[in-house]
């Protein structure tokens, strides 16, 4: 679960877990996080937590809300964001990454947000009133649908509540590149002999369109060469490759469309 760490002048005052859907921040005592300081407005800001995502919204405070040095109206909180309210600082700490990737898998199961649930939630939100009715509504809808989905056996409730890092969670297509050595090819014949080409992209095409084309793919397991088009196939160390991707080893010699080239791994 995400939390906030309240501090002043570098001194940690307390830790506040974001357990509620709406966590209000302000000077008045009814706020979830009360900061009794004149620089803080009565109702200063609110943090709306939808599943694992937290949004900070300024409630039209007199002195404004600053995140990482920038004044904001609405902000999608990321791990280690620092919210400043006058002399006070609130550090946002996202959830820890899940231990097993298996937990994540169920979490990502597609679920539908039912209009009925949204409408019901809208009623609740309207009754509750407040400037953030729209946000609350959505959030309530998510909760409601998540609950109904879980009840219907669509989602595993435990998996949903299992810790999943907001920022580190379903990473956007970040292939496991770091450990893999970079490959390159050097042309051995033809007009450009001696020229070197680093294979940094996930795939690099070689050859002449319409005559013979092959693709070099960069995968976590290493580099592969695959025949794309043309009557004849490329050769690796004098052997014609098959239809399946052919794994490339350091110093393999490829011949393609009459040009010889050497594949090698860079240290």
């Amino acid at each position: 679960m995400a939390k906030l760490i309240l501090s002043m002048d570098g001194l940690v005052l307390k830790e506040i877990p974001l357990t509620k859907e709406r966590t209000t921040i302000g000077r008045k005592p009814h706020n979830d996080i009360q900061i009794d300081n004149l620089a803080v407005s009565g109702e200063h800001a609110v943090i709306v937590t939808i599943l694992n995502d937290s949004f900070l919204e300024d409630l039209g405070s007199t002195n404004g809300t600053v995140v990482n040095g920038n004044p904001i109206k609405k902000h999608f909180l990321q791990n280690n964001d620092v919210i400043e309210l006058g002399k006070y600082k609130l550090k946002f700490v996202g959830e820890a990454a899940p231990a097993a990737s298996g937990e994540k898998a169920d979490f990502e199961k597609t679920m539908v947000l039912r209009p009925a649930a949204m409408k019901a939630a809208a009623g609740v939100a309207a009754a509750g009133g407040g400037a953030q009715a729209a946000v609350a509504q959505r959030q309530a809808a998510v909760q409601a649908s998540a609950a109904s989905a879980a009840a219907a056996g669509i989602a595993d409730k435990d998996a949903r509540t299992a810790p999943a890092a907001a920022p580190a969670a379903p990473g956007p297509a970040a292939p496991g590149k770091p450990a893999q050595p970079l490959g390159a090819i050097q042309l051995l014949s033809g007009g450009n002999a001696g020229k070197e080409l680093e294979l940094t992209k996930p795939l690099t095409t070689l050859g002449k369109p319409g005559v013979q084309v092959a693709v070099l793919t960069r995968r976590p397991q290493g580099y592969f060469i695959t025949h794309v088009e043309g009557a004849s196939r490329p050769t690796v160390n004098g052997q014609e490759i098959g239809a399946a991707p052919h794994s490339l080893k350091d110093h393999d010699v490829i011949e393609l469309a009459g040009v010889k080239m050497e594949f090698f791994l860079k240290a």
Partner: protein, 274 residues
């Protein structure tokens, strides 16, 4: 009109690296220029059932109708082409079949599916979609997303709560706001676009676009466009190499040449004589 020589279609579907079953379903009817992709959801095997029903119902119903009709025929009643009405009706039919099954059989309770349908006719493509399965297009080297997801995330992006960049890291990617088979009725989003020879269309489930950046998908299509089957396999492989956390399905359609509907003077005369 037979479109087998006009459209080149390649498909590939895979359970991914984590899931044991494949809840995605894909279907293609090259003769009628119809492709359908569905990403099912629901416990046990219900997701597969829902997506399978969606693709089967739509393809078989459309095949029957298109045996005796052309999508560009004009309905005398409202002076509109029948294509959009036909597709919408079949989507609704699939919706009620899935909904009925979910209501009557306890093991299917709560099942549903996302959907993308493309019908190619008369140098155009009609697209119907529900949920977060997508259609992309590559034209003259430019790769872009055609459909807009019906998802909570997309709504948040639209309302300015989060940016597209932040959306990539959001945890609630999996919540769709529209789907087939969840409610007694549903309204699919329908659009029509002109096609050009050389265009490549990509239908995919979120297992691809969640795992592979749009940029890399576009690059793959551009690089491997000459070999559609290989491109489809490569896309699935890239999703799996990046973790393959969900089922991955892709359908690629390349427009090889023009395919105008027979709408000359003679066709009109024949229609009038009927």
């Amino acid at each position: 009109m037979d479109l087998t020589q006009t459209l080149e279609i390649a498909t590939c579907t895979d359970p991914g690296m984590v899931r044991s079953h494949n809840e995605d379903s894909i279907a293609a009817d090259p003769t009628n220029g119809l492709v359908v992709l569905a990403d099912g959801m629901g416990g046990y095997n219900a997701g597969e059932v829902a997506s399978g029903m969606a693709t089967t119902v739509i393809v078989t119903e459309m095949r029957q109708i298109l045996a005796n009709a052309r999508p560009y025929e004009v309905d005398q009643k409202n002076n509109q082409e029948i294509a959009a009405r036909l597709v919408r009706e079949q989507v609704l039919k699939a919706n009620s079949s899935i909904y009925q099954a979910a209501q009557t059989q306890p093991q299917y309770a709560g099942m549903g599916t996302t959907l993308v349908v493309c019908l190619f006719y008369d140098n155009r493509v009609l697209v119907a979609h529900l949920g977060d399965s997508r259609l992309y297009m590559l034209r003259e080297g430019k790769f872009r997303q055609v459909t807009r997801d019906h998802s909570l995330l997309q709504e948040q992006i639209d309302s300015g709560i989060i940016t597209a960049e932040q959306a990539k890291r959001a945890a609630h990617k999996n919540l769709v706001t529209k789907a087939l088979g969840i409610d007694p009725t549903v309204e699919p989003e329908l659009h029509e676009y002109a096609t050009k020879p050389g265009d490549i269309y990509l239908l995919c489930s979120d297992g691809l676009c969640d795992m592979v950046d749009d940029e890399d998908i576009g690059m793959t299509l551009q690089a491997l466009g000459g070999n559609l089957k290989l491109a489809a396999q490569q896309l699935v492989q890239m999703a799996n190499d990046n973790g393959g956390r969900d089922n991955v399905s892709v359908i690629l359609v390349r427009v090889l040449r023009e395919y105008p509907g027979a709408k000359g003077v003679m066709a009109k005369v024949f229609a009038w004589l009927k």
